[in-house]
């Protein structure tokens, strides 16, 4: 039998707190989560750790729906968290909703 839990959504700020093609971080006890905003105002939340050498993805250049890690240029899909191209690895993604200009982050159940 499955128990469906009502997830908690945490208001972390406004869309406009993040520049287009940019990112901000949310500090949590488990580590930093990077929150990205693309050119067309789509938002994504991923662990702020590149699967390669732990680079802070929030500091990378955002292009399309991907980010290039600032340390060694791995390209990570914001939609899937998967490394693109020849590189292999993935980053955990989190639920993120945009409601009335506010960003709501799904709080991990751990």
């Amino acid at each position: 039998m499955n128990i469906i839990l009502e997830n908690t959504w945490l208001d972390i700020g406004a869309l406009d707190d993040i520049p287009r093609h940019g990112a901000r971080i949310v500090k949590t006890k488990q580590g930093c989560i990077a929150v990205f905003r693309t050119a067309d105002d789509t938002v994504f939340a991923l662990d702020d750790r590149c699967p390669h050498k732990g680079g802070p993805l929030s500091q990378g250049i955002v292009h399309g729906t991907a980010v290039t890690c600032p340390l060694h240029n791995w390209v990570i899909s914001l939609e899937t968290g998967e490394a693109q191209g020849a590189d292999k690895g993935s980053v955990r993604c989190y639920g993120l909703k945009l409601e009335g200009g506010r960003l709501l982050l799904e709080v991990p159940d751990e």
């Binding site: 945490l10 972390i12 700020g13 707190d17 993040i18 520049p19 287009r20 093609h21 940019g22 901000r24 971080i25 949310v26 500090k27 949590t28 006890k29 930093c32 929150v35 050119a39 067309d40 050498k53 732990g54 680079g55 802070p56 500091q59 990378g60 250049i61 955002v62 292009h63 399309g64 290039t68 600032p70 340390l71 240029n73 390209v75 960003l103 982050l105 709080v107």
Partner: protein
């Protein structure tokens, strides 16, 4: 010019028995091609004299539009430079028109009174633009669009950024309009017919073209009859029949051309609309030929280059004694040379009872294709938006191939008709050997593939120089490249131009050139205009574009931080653990107790784990947390220190030795010069990092000879070096020049930096740039040509006005504060609960 020195008398006495005398009146593309073909067939047959009314060599007239729009320079469209005339022993009279032909005496006489005898005469007087004789047509500011003089006049007029009216919405008129718009003018096209280019396009394609032209900000008025050009001394407005008054500082008439046949007519040669020629291209006088736009064959006159080149081939053959060669006009294809607008038309596409048509429309993608069929053959084709299959359809028109078997899929082109996958390379591979690839020069596929194989050609330029394919308007370049690929397989490496990144086919130099030519001033605007394939670029192209726009439009372009690598965005150097390092400037490597004390205090206050001396004579604080950066900078600013830009593709350090201040060998104040240079150059963005050094004597303690720019002081002044490297590559500098004063040294270095800023490709260090453009070229710009040096220096100084702002102080004051704070901190929130 030296060819002119070759005296006629020498030719007569020494070579007259062997060689006949060929005189050519006109030096356009058609006679140029005829001579070229003649020399290929028989270089010894004639002694050639050319009279050119224009004061220049033979150039590609159909490429005037790219010159007008700024995409090409005159030098790039020259077909035969001075050297070609010398090589073939041609006597060329530039700026010299022929006023009389004496057929009885077999001589021609020029306006300057020179009389030259001929055995064979070739008339290639071309055509002149039609000027509509409306009131005001002779006012200043009313131009035609015909030769380089017209283009230069238009470019001059465009400098005032005023308004222009182009009368005529045909091929030339539209190219002129787009070119003037690119030069910053406000442009209106007025056209008599209901749709644009009505001779080459049907109504739907003409309407799509109108939309595309209007989308470029050009106003188009069709069914517009010009009544008068108004103005006192110069043109001020164009008045239309319906009373509309269009203000105009410049009026360009591009309504058509008329053959220049008067000279022939005066000589008693048969002239109708043009100079009448038979199939052998002879006029009514068998020793006189006519070629080009002045000639009339089969009751037709011609304006497009392909048939003119065919005529030229026939004349060359006839002159060389191959009497069987004849000219028969065939279907011609048209393309508009406007970057970003693709259209193609060929054959006959008028409606008719006996005709059927196949039409494909994809409005969303702006694609329109129409084939006109008659008796199971294609007789006409119009394509807009996607013209890739043009060559294939054109080939079918010329051959009259039956289409019934593939009719269902015909409109989708060769790749579909053959049932093969939609691979453009395979489609080219499937073309028959006789298929025409280059319409301008009449080069077929077989000729190209044969030449590639027999001469072992490997590049597009090779193919251009050996077959002429893609050497004129260039619209078949893609096809020729595919042929190279098909013929050579993987051995073909089109490395001539490396695209900037996968978002574009353009190389860095093309992008830089187009930024200027098309006045592109934003990244999204550039990506739109240059047809970027990705929605907003990638991590490779965005920083490059940001630099190019910033360096091209200082003070105008707003820096896009999100297109910068993190280090330049937050003005510190990211480290492997996500912390940052901070390096303040120490001008010329000099420091003081106050600065050192401030650094020590900052290190303690912020628990900075590591402090180190850099190779550039300054101090690096490593392991600073990102949130602490603004506070660290505030303390350093308070002690008078600014960012050392140790992260920048820009000026890094100016390393110095102690020079004449302290050193017993010092010849000049190297420290002082280093400080002056650093104070002058700091803040500037360059294609890649820029490191300098100044040594006070040839012992070179500052290691100036492995820097991007180095100065070695000597007794008599300053030796300026550049192009060194001591990183991935190790390379000693090369000497740029010697100057005697400090002021000159600074000016030369600023000019060099500016030239590098303008020409360097993003991430290309000075030594690589030098290798690419050549040391001597750079030296001629910044050492030999004093005026150019000053101009470079002025541009550098202007850009510095906007660059010399300490980025640390800006951020201490609050700029980009979001960068340094988390958007939310759940650790604290929970702690508060």
């Amino acid at each position: 010019m030296s060819a002119r020195k070759k005296s006629k008398n020498t030719a007569l006495t020494a070579e007259a028995p062997a060689r006949q005398r060929l005189v050519v009146i006109g030096n356009g593309m058609a006679p140029g091609r005829a001579l070229e073909k003649l020399f290929e067939r028989n270089p010894e047959a004639y002694t050639v004299t050319v009279f050119n009314a224009e004061p220049r060599v033979n150039y590609d007239r159909i490429m005037l539009s790219p010159v007008l729009s700024g995409e090409k320079t005159f030098d790039q469209i020259v077909i035969h430079g001075d050297g070609w005339y010398v090589k073939h022993g041609i006597t060329l009279y530039k700026g010299s028109s022929v006023t009389q032909i004496d057929r009885a005496a077999k001589t021609v006489t020029s306006a300057r009174g020179l009389t030259v005898p001929y055995d064979k005469l070739l008339i290639a007087t071309g055509s002149q633009p039609i000027i509509i004789p409306v009131p005001g047509h002779a006012l200043a500011g009313v131009l035609s669009y015909r030769d380089l003089d017209d283009v230069q006049a238009m470019l001059l007029a465009a400098k005032s950024r005023g308004t222009a009216v182009v009368i005529g919405g045909g091929l030339l008129g539209l190219e002129a309009a787009v070119g003037l718009k690119a030069q910053g003018m406000d442009v209106t096209v007025v056209h008599l017919a209901p749709t644009l280019m009505e001779r080459q396009l049907d109504v739907p394609a003409g309407s799509l073209l109108k939309e595309a032209i209007e989308a470029r900000g050009i106003r188009v008025i069709t069914r517009a009859n010009t009544k008068a050009i108004l103005g006192e001394k110069k043109a001020e407005a164009v008045l239309l029949e319906d009373g509309t008054r269009l203000p105009a500082d410049l009026v360009v008439m591009a309504v058509g051309i008329r053959p220049n046949a008067q000279l022939a007519k005066d000589a008693g040669i048969t002239v109708n609309r043009g100079i009448v020629v038979d199939e052998t291209m002879r006029t009514s006088d068998p020793d006189i030929f006519a070629v080009g736009e002045c000639a009339e064959s089969h009751s037709q006159v011609f304006g497009l280059v392909a048939p003119l080149y065919e005529m030229a081939g026939v004349i060359a053959a006839q002159l060389a004694g191959y009497t069987g060669a004849t000219f028969k006009p065939s279907a011609v294809a048209t393309k508009l040379k406007v970057t970003g607008i693709n259209l193609f038309s060929a054959g006959d596409f008028a409606d008719g009872k006996d005709r059927e048509e196949i039409v494909l429309r994809d409005a969303a993608r702006g694609i329109y294709k129409r084939l006109v069929l008659k008796d199971d053959k294609i007789i006409g084709a119009v394509m807009y938006g996607d013209v890739a299959d043009g060559a294939w359809f054109f080939d079918m028109i010329k051959k009259g191939s039956p289409v019934s078997e593939m009719r269902d899929t015909l409109i989708f082109g060769p790749s579909f008709a053959g049932g093969t996958p939609l691979d453009p390379t395979a489609a080219v591979a499937a073309l028959p050997d006789e298929a025409e690839i280059c319409g301008c020069n009449g080069v077929c596929k077989g000729k190209i593939t044969c030449t590639i194989t027999s001469l072992s050609l490997t590049s597009l330029d090779d193919v251009r120089s050996h077959t002429k394919a893609s050497a004129s308007c260039g619209s078949c370049t893609g096809l020729v490249e595919k042929l190279l690929k098909v013929t050579l397989g993987d051995a073909y490496n089109p490395s001539a131009v490396q695209p900037m990144c996968p978002c574009t086919d353009l190389g860095h130099d093309d992008v830089r050139r187009l930024i200027v030519a098309k006045t592109l001033k934003t990244i999204p605007g550039l990506m739109q205009a240059l047809e970027w394939s990705s929605s907003c670029g990638c991590a490779k192209c965005r920083p490059a574009l940001n630099y190019y726009l910033l360096s091209t439009w200082p003070g105008e372009y707003k820096d896009d931080g999100q297109s910068r690598f993190i280090n330049e965005r937050v003005h510190a150097n990211i480290q492997k653990d996500g912390t940052y390092s901070v390096v303040p400037r120490m001008w010329g490597g000099m420091t003081s107790a106050r600065e050192l004390r401030a650094i020590a205090d900052v290190v303690e206050k912020f628990n900075i784990p590591a402090v180190k001396c850099t190779g550039g004579q300054r101090i690096d604080m490593l392991g600073v947390k990102k949130e602490d950066l603004p506070a660290v900078w505030a303390d350093l600013n308070a002690a008078g220190m600014v960012s050392g830009a140790a992260y920048a593709k820009g000026l890094r350090t100016v390393k110095t030795c102690v020079g004449s201040d302290w050193c017993r060998f010092g010849t000049q104040d190297s420290t002082g010069l280093g400080i002056k240079l650093e104070k002058y150059l700091w803040g500037s963005w360059t294609p890649a990092k820029l490191k300098l050094a100044v040594s006070g004597c040839p012992r070179n303690c500052a290691e100036a000879t492995c820097k991007d720019i180095g100065v070695v002081c000597v007794d008599s002044g300053y030796d300026i070096h550049f192009g060194g490297a001591a990183g991935l590559d190790i390379k000693g500098t090369e000497v740029l020049g010697h100057v005697s004063t400090e002021a000159e040294a600074i000016e030369v270095i600023a000019a060099l930096t500016q030239l590098y800023r303008e020409q360097g490709r993003y991430l290309e260090r000075i030594y690589k740039w030098m290798k690419r453009v050549g040391r001597d070229t750079i030296r001629s710009h910044v050492i030999d040509d004093v005026e150019r040096r000053r101009a470079l220096c002025e541009r550098f100084e202007y850009s510095q006005k906007f660059a010399q702002i300490d980025p640390w102080a800006e951020r201490v004051a609050g700029k980009d504060s979001h960068e340094f704070r988390p958007i939310a901190d759940t650790t604290k929130a929970e702690a508060a609960e």
